[in-house]
Symmetry: C2
Subunit: 138 residues, 2 copies
């Protein structure tokens, strides 16, 4: 199976129309294998419209191809979902790591510990660790 047909398959399985821009964007995510921001896409696809890239990220997130990683920096970052995610079931319990040196944000394997607080209904948890990543620490 070619890379292109694989990407098309992913898009279709998430009920997304196959367009050139979406194929390129998804291919970029798969090739980079790391989280990306709108800015990253803008740099990569200089001829593409900013708003279209923005909407690509939105629809990917909505359809379970990507998940939005909460960040206080003002730069929204996106990471690939696992195969299990769809428009319907789209949940993530893993934590994230932001490197103070290279700036990359990584999805970690580890899940966020369950926290219970008397009187509260906890429905969601976001844990972001900061420090020096494996690559930069080496």
């Amino acid at each position: 199976m070619t890379r292109y047909s694989e990407i098309k398959k992913i898009l279709k399985s998430h009920k997304l129309r196959v367009t050139d821009g979406r194929v390129d964007t998804l291919e970029f995510f798969l090739r980079q294998a790391k989280t990306l921001s709108l800015k990253d896409l803008e740099k990569e696809f200089k001829n593409s419209d900013r708003v279209t890239l923005y909407r690509t990220l939105s629809s990917f997130t909505e359809h379970g191809v990507l998940h939005k990683i909460p960040d206080d920096s003002g730069h929204a970052t996106y990471g690939l979902c696992h195969d299990t995610c769809s428009s319907e079931d789209h949940s993530h319990d893993h934590m994230h790591f932001k490197c103070n040196e290279c700036g990359t944000i990584e999805c970690l394997e580890q899940n966020i510990p369950v926290v219970k607080i008397p009187g509260y209904h906890v429905k969601e948890a976001n844990l972001i660790l900061k420090g020096i990543c494996k690559t930069c620490a080496a």
Copy 2:
């Protein structure tokens, strides 16, 4: 001791000049006893300049009167520090809770569990829980 002299004392102990705006802002934080954003201050102090309020939050944060609470919504929120915080020592390990209904962000007593990841240097952790707060759940 009057409220005003108490507030003056707090400002001075954090090496901040006592100005009308700072007294009002700190008084508001103490009275509300909850986290506040720049927007909240703008609503309360309609005659004040937005930039001045912004800088008040900045200097308070810098001098250990407030701590900035990371939020992905784009609204930076601030909470009072404990008495122990100063310009020098200004650390927080507690988690925060954001209510999906009333929108308030609370500082929780509980500290964030320590997470270790092989190969990484974790220096900071931010855990934000979301759901329904005690007041809204009742």
